[in-house]
Amino acid sequence: MAEPRKSGEAVDATPNVTEVDVVDAGSESASVAAIEAPVERGEPILQVRNLVKHFPLTQGILFKRQVGAVKAVDGISFDLYQGETLGIVGESGCGKSTVAKLLMMLETATAGEVFFKGQDITKLSGRALKAVRRNIQMVFQDPYTSLNPRMTVGDIIGETFDIHPDSAPKGERRRKVQELLDVVGLNPEYINRYPHQFSGGQRQRIGIARGLALNPEIIICDEPVSALDVSVQAQVINLMEKLQDEFNLSYIFIAHDLSIVRHISDRVGVMYLGKMAEIGTDTQIYDHPTHPYTQALLSAVPVPDPDAREGRERIILSGDVPSPANPPSGCRFRTRCWKAQDRCATDVPLLAIPERFKGSDSQAAHESACHFAEEKDVVHAA
């Protein structure tokens, strides 16, 4: 109780498969960086600008008056490029899933814009919104609740064609569903089965097939593997990587498991209490973190090598995450930060490349929302 360890989830759910990658990456970080550097940086396909979602807190039964707001997402900006995977990590309650719902237009944003190919989709409704939905789809966290138990697999996937009738001619639909099942590695004969006849991993494949049905350009994955067990996680992640290459998809991959995010992502954003703390390529974030929160988060990643584990430094934060209904002034992280000074309580740090790294070629030159950003390699520290 005295020291609630940060990012407990990251510790519980790290699969063996990807842990290996974390260790390997140390010796070959240069070559890995070269391979995993974002592909063509053209126009971003999705631009998020100052996205805000406040859930009002009301009091009273008949005459409700607003007494405050839970600031679930409080001004988030990032870009997503064609064909890349942007990982978003953070502990429970930091607003990751709310971001996913906002991008899917399942919640209305309090403020801010989301541009899909230059068009602000937060203001759309009706037919125009339905058209945009064809390009942005979602894979849900829990494969046990994301499939309607009263519908067969064929109906679940085929429903997308009923909703968007021009996406497939009537006679073709069954064949298309079977093709999709084949693409995600399921037996096309399973089309008449019900969800409860499948295992968790298979269900998640059905969920992915549903997301793929309309040939979207962006798939938002809200913790797509956290409900699966470790061996199945690897299968699903590999499937998603395969599909990305095949269909040139862009992923926004939300997770609390740092190793999985590193495995699949080209770029990673770290969220804390409704704000983006740091964003950069996976090498920049994992090997050259400059934000103290990222450093603390990374120091909690389990290391399979006992020798490396002995020598490394554990950053243990004190206290709990403050309530998003009443976040600290200035820097959101200052209440738990070992570097915090008076300035942190008054000035909100902007998410930008820190002054001292500007113009430098170092990997530390990436956007970080800290007044005292400083590189510290926690993963490899020995």
């Binding site: 899917m104 237009m105 399942l106 919104l129 339905k130 939905r133 064809r134 789809q137 979602m138 849900f140 966290q141 829990d142 609740t145 994301s146 499939l147 309607n148 138990p149 009263r150 519908m151 067969t152 679940i156 429903e159 997308t160 009923d162 909703i163 968007h164 590695g185 399921l186 037996n187 004969e189 399973y190 008449n192 089965r193 019900y194 409860h196 006849q197 499948f198 295992s199 991993g201 298979q202 969920g207 549903r210 309309l214 199945v232 299968q235």
Partner: protein, 320 residues
């Protein structure tokens, strides 16, 4: 025995559910396989439940009785022979004969009246339940799904109807009609009875609408009517069906109560309630005139409640 049967079937499904289609699973699944939904599982359970079988047989007999009373008796329930049959005692050895249950104060065959009386009771019960289910489910679903002001409005209206004592309310409605046919009784009962279903439906919809598959349908751009009818209704209906089956028995009792009080059906209508009402005057010297139609009401109510109970158990996954 049903347990072992079910077990082998789940393992069959389990082995077929190994990730990745192997040759063996391909071969296994080319056979046409029976899909097992919640309803087919429930049906599977129900057929083996003696309570369900007994109540189903009873209800079938009662429904046939209501539809074709001539199959059971040739006697006319309205033919009164005061001179020969005034309060004649039942002749228990004359099974299925006109004088089996004796004669009432007007000299009419009680056996014939009991058989013909089934029609009104069953008609009232079935039609009221159907009406109440439709009205209640629609109200509850709209209130639960849309929430906000619509929910507040509909829920308060439900509360107002719920606050009216059922029998008293039905009496008020019925006395405002000059002529009280069976349809008026149905209307009065349905008018007051939908609130319980509406509440159950609303609660059920409130939980279902949070489900990820509803989110997924919204994310695909599904229309509200599609979400309500294809995703929410089929998943939210189970508790409604349970409440509806159980309350079916209650409506038979209510019809009898209202007829007994003299504000439901009235002579010359043939109904169990009317007979109980007229029989109570002879309670001291000829109790059978009251008791026989009362037993019919009890058996029918019991049969429907037993059915509702069996359906509830079959649809409740926690009892599996």
């Amino acid at each position: 025995m049903p347990e072992t049967l079910k077990d082998t079937e789940t393992t069959k499904d389990g082995t077929a559910a190994v990730p990745g289609p192997t040759a063996a699973t391909m071969a296994a699944s080319t056979k046409p396989e029976k899909a097992r939904s919640l309803w087919s599982d429930a049906w599977h359970d129900l057929r083996r439940n003696p309570l369900f079988v007994a109540s189903a047989i009873l209800i079938t007999i009662l429904v046939v009785m209501a539809a074709f009373p001539q199959l059971f008796t040739g006697a006319d329930p309205r033919y009164a022979d005061l001179a020969n049959h005034y309060l004649q005692k039942p002749n228990w050895s004359h099974v299925f004969k006109e004088d089996w249950f004796g004669y009432d104060v007007q000299g009419r065959s009680i056996y014939a009246r009991v058989i013909h009386g089934a029609r009104n009771s069953i008609l009232v019960a079935l039609v009221v339940t159907a009406l109440v289910t439709v009205i209640g489910t629609a109200t509850g679903m709209i209130a639960g799904y849309f929430g906000g002001l619509i929910d507040t409005l509909l829920s308060r209206v439900t509360d107002i109807f719920f606050a009216v004592p059922f029998t008293l309310g039905a009496m008020v409605v019925l006395t405002s009609f000059e002529e009280r046919s069976v349809w008026v009784v149905i209307l009065a009962l349905a008018f007051l009875g939908w609130t319980q279903i509406a509440r159950v439906a609303r609660g059920s919809v409130l939980t279902i609408k949070q489900a990820d598959y509803v989110m997924a349908a919204k994310a695909l751009g599904a229309s509200t009517s599609r979400i309500l009818l294809r995703h929410i209704l089929p998943n939210a209906i189970a508790p409604v069906i349970v409440v509806a089956t159980i309350s079916l028995g209650g409506y038979i009792g209510s019809e009898a109560t209202l007829s007994f009080l003299g504000i439901g059906l009235a002579e010359p209508a043939v109904s169990w309630g009317v007979d109980i009402s007229s029989g109570q005057e002879q309670l001291r010297n000829a109790a059978f005139v009251l008791i026989i139609p009362s037993i019919m009401v009890s058996i029918t109510v019991l049969a429907f409640i037993m059915l509702g109970d069996a359906v509830r158990n079959a649809l409740d996954p926690k009892l599996r």
